[in-house]
Amino acid sequence: MKRVDGKLRRSLYALAIASAFAAGPAMSQEGGAEPSSGGGDFGGGGDGGGGGGFFSDMGFAFSGFVRFDSAFHTDSDENPNNQRTNPFNGKTTGRSAFPANGTGALNTLPGVGATLGVPLVGQALQNAVNNLITAAPGVPSTATRNTPRGHNDWNLNQLRGKFDLGVTFSSNVQMYSSIRTIYDFGNYDEFKRSDTLDYAGNPSNPDGFNQRKVRYFEYDDYKDGGKSCLNYLEICGDNYMADFTSLYLDITAGPVLIRAGQQQIAWGQALFFRIFDVPNGLDLRRHLILDDALEEYADERVAAPGVRVTWQATDQWEADAYAQMFTPTIYPTPNTPYNVIPSQFSVHETWSDEHRGEDFNYGLRLRGNFGNWGLQFIATQRYNHEGTFRWVESGVVRDLPGLPGTGSIMAGTPLEADPTGVWSANEWFTYAGQVRLDGVEGLNTLVREFQPFTGLLTGSEVGDNITAAARELDLFFGVGGGLAALNTNGGGLRGHIIHEYHKEEIYGAGASYVVEAEPGSLLDQLIINVETSYIPERKFTEKSLSRNFIESDESVTDLVMEKYHRWFDDFPATYMVFQAIHKSDSNLFGQHLGCQGGTGGDPGTEAAATNRKTKQCTDEKKGGSTDVVLAFLQPFPNYIYRLSGAALLDVDGGLLVQGGFRWSPGNNMTFDFIYNYIDGDLYGDPNSNALQNIGWADEFVIRAAYQF
């Protein structure tokens, strides 16, 4: 368990003290006060009650809910990003054949050995490989990841609570806090080190706090977990977390509202598409983005300490400014059900060391309402919450099997020998395509940017020769799996990448219009909203994970049309929304479009069953990305039942459909039934649409909540 740091802990104590202090007066007002006798007067204003004074209205309100969330996995697709559900587990995968012409042939392998003869270790490696080749010239090598294949019936089983406390000091000064607690029962096919064995039969030993054991919520320093949890005001353990989603003071002074403390900030009229909703990142650890679409990012939007000032300047115009401590988007942790980063890679998180407690995001919004018209303008300077990834030195001093002394060299590369890593070029290219990276350039960059260490390991660039890249990669992975120790079928090199954040500025403008047409017609009261933003010099992850990030000017535009329409006499109106978003440089999840469509495969080997196609990513996609949403909400009479549906189409061939049904039987109970269907291969290149990233997450969700 980790704890909040001292300063924040003091804040929590302050809250507790304030709550206790508030309890007495509150009870006396709500529970025991007699009506005014002989002339009590509440007509004098918000501070009323006749008493006056700062604490005259002091009291508290407490509410919350307890909810159990379950998500049943409804198809056979498994999350490929986890060790237990890597599609290569248990599958014999071809690797490049050893050269048939015997000793010394290593130098003839395209892409390998360009630096041979120079490095000491390279010579040792060459000798070892030559011995193998001598023993079995021309024999194809194969690799079979030895991690037992998992099959999960459940994606989610979490018990959560929400505990809200409002403390009123006066009508102008209030404090709100909301604590979220989560316990994950963890009844999935969890990864254990002993699931994956090295060439000698020993349990795997991946470097990295979260790689060695499944930890659903702990996420900070990759090495040891760090001294705190990622969010401000959060405590977390392997299976639980608790955090303040709100802990702020509201001060109202005439037309000005000052909100200071831990808070979420949401801007814009568009739902789900985050054009103006830029102040906060998303915490994706619990259920990714697969909650009820109508809740938008209620559970995901990351709260952070900050100050927000909203000023109703005139009847029409409102100014809204904030300064908030930067907190990044939090991705699901490795080997958890919704993990989106392949677990063959260790992510070195930089937020805590480089940004925590130091860096702020700022923003200003102007919003005007003019009857049927509305206008919005935003300008923000922020650290992009999603950040970028690039190769980084692993720092792991561990010898390659059979090659003593190589540990210090490996530490200078982004590689680490461990069977939880990549076993074959086939696997490498498959995952490169999946995460929209260039497998060939990825190798070149790895070699080029980590000299002399990669050179000492015989690494060399291969240009755009995919065959050469495959052979070099297969050799590396074989060596990582014990090739030098005469294990020809082993594998495993882990990659190390670093997660960094960059400043950017966002400028946006939006307009809305409420259509007035024939009463009751489809067009009447249709709300049309357009928002567009421009982000100059936005940094993206480079397709080879180079330290030379992609930098480009991105524009994002969306169109939203909302309408309530009563179709049936006996049913309340149906809420319908159409949304379309166009991003010039990235997809819905922020991945740059410069490397779409790679489909894996290893042209130097026999095709593997998991990869029938072989293609590298295409050039930068022209025309940007476009996604379209259609959604509806249909309450039943008296609102006891509610039917909802949403479809998100990535026009490049991905589809997410969600159907939802809510039952509110009363007695403070609510039941939700949600079905998520995702097809990441509707048409076209599957790796060209953003939804392919989560195509494995078909599920049926049940939520049962009790509110108090």
Partner: protein, 460 residues
């Protein structure tokens, strides 16, 4: 035995004769408005049989008695059919209290003063809006038509001022009861309304100059249960009653304020509640989005107009009875209203409304709304509303509104005639310590009626 100068038949003939001539002349023995202006009370305008329950029932029901299934037949004509059915079949009962004759006890003092002061000064302009006849400006306060001649004058006055205060805040608790008598939902929240024109108490008056094109600002928000906490809606009404209000809402999940289409005024606000925005005060929509407003009936009526404040309850909670669990109906005090006027209107601005018409009952003495029934699109009775007002004084206990005791509604009941569900709503003293019922609080606008206010209320 009570001897009456004018018997029941005389009264009925008078009401029927007026109706047949298309004439609305309130009062039976004398013109009501003139009587009120001259005496401040109504006794001289009505015969004895309309001034007490004893007189009306010839002593069969007395002040202090309960109307139950045993005696409801004597007053069946004084209530809506669904109320009668609830008394007969579900154990509902009504306690009869003394009829109020002092009109100053039937409305906020300042409102009634302004009504008397400004009598005869109002007219409809060419747009159909109520204006001060002298200068064509918006109305200047009080009831513009205290001596109504047409149904639309009753509806216009009601639409102009709902709670009859310049600003009102009601801490509310709502209960959704199932037909079988089981409680299903309990909601708490607040309702705020503030007039931009026709102000009698709050400065600036009679108009808020910068907002003279507005009629009112109104918001409703919810505090519990937790999944609705912070959810709120705000209507900004134009003075021009042909225009729909602007509607904004804070949806707690979205963490922000969004604009909503304003014509969706017939949707349940929360699960289980038989309440629409359109139902508010019987005139929840702009005046000219409905039409008709024909007077269809007149006669005595029963309604709660006094002794309804639950002064002895810590938070003004009212007690209940009836239904299978004794929780379906408010304990209600009613009194005989000598003359109520029923008008009927149709929703012309809402082609897809689930309601085909509504019938509204107004107390002829002060034109306060005393009942409503809506009909579905097939013409079948749909939902029925009854409630209770009161001065907030009981013995030596008082809640003051400036120099005078607070007058407001205390509770109301919305009955879904077709399903048997009942929604009970009461005005309580306070919720969450800070949200206190009251009137004419000058800070109300910034606390409840701006987008900043919604944002502040939107806790999460």
């Amino acid at each position: 035995m009570i001897i009456t100068r004018f018997g029941r038949d005389y009264t009925r003939r008078k009401f029927l004769a007026d109706a047949s001539r298309g004439v609305l002349a309130t009062g039976v023995l004398a013109p009501l408005a003139k009587t009120i202006a001259a005496t401040g009370e109504v006794s001289k305008a009505y015969p004895d049989e309309l001034l007490s329950i004893e007189g009306y029932t010839k002593g069969k029901i007395k002040t202090g008695d309960y109307i139950t299934s045993a005696n409801v037949e004597h007053v069946k004509a004084l209530m809506q059919p669904i109320t009668y059915q609830q008394i007969v079949k579900q154990g509902r009962k009504l306690k009869v209290v003394k009829s109020t004759t002092d009109v100053m006890r039937l409305s906020p003092w300042e409102y009634q003063e302004a009504t008397l002061k400004n009598a005869g000064k109002a007219k409809f302009d060419e747009k159909g809006n109520v204006v001060n006849a002298a200068d064509g400006q918006p109305w200047i306060g009080g009831n513009p038509f205290p001596d109504p001649k047409q149904g639309i004058e009753l509806a216009a006055a009601q639409t102009l001022s709902w709670g009859r205060h310049d600003a009102s805040f009601y801490a509310i608790t709502a209960y959704a009861m199932r037909a079988d008598g089981a409680p299903r939902f309990r909601y708490t929240g607040g309702w705020a309304e503030l007039s931009a024109v026709a102000r009698t108490t709050l400065d600036p008056k009679p108009y808020w100059p910068e907002q003279k094109d507005k009629l009112r600002f109104q918001s409703v928000f919810f505090l519990s249960p937790n999944n609705f906490r912070g959810t709120s809606f705000m209507n900004i009404w134009y003075y021009d009653h042909r225009k729909f209000p602007e509607l904004y809402g804070y949806v707690a999940d979205f963490k922000r304020i969004r604009q909503f289409p304003t014509d969706q005024r017939f949707e349940p606000l929360l699960p289980g509640l038989s309440l629409y925005l359109s139902d508010a005060w019987g005139t929840g929509d702009p005046l000219h989005t409905w039409s008709g407003y024909n007077i269809v009936n007149r006669g005595p009526w029963l309604c709660g107009l006094s002794e309804s404040w639950a002064a002895d309850a810590p938070n003004w909670e009212h007690t209940t009875h009836g239904g299978a669990q004794g929780k379906t109906f408010w304990d209600t005090n009613v009194e005989l209203i000598p003359e109520a006027i029923m008008i009927e209107a149709q929703p012309t601005g809402f082609p897809r409304a689930p309601v085909s018409k509504k019938q509204l009952w107004f107390d002829a003495r002060n034109q306060v709304l005393v009942g409503m029934v809506t009909y579905d699109r097939r013409g079948e009775p749909f939902r029925c509303f009854d409630g209770a007002y009161s001065l907030y004084e009981k013995g030596d206990q008082k809640v003051m509104d400036g120099k005078h005791p607070y007058w407001s509604w205390c509770h109301f009941t919305a009955s879904d005639i077709q399903t048997g569900d009942v929604t009970r709503v009461e005005q309580v003293k306070v919720h969450d310590t800070q949200h206190k019922s009251g009137a004419n609080d000058p800070t109300m606008y910034e606390r409840y009626l701006t987008q900043n206010a919604l944002r502040s209320l939107g806790t999460s």
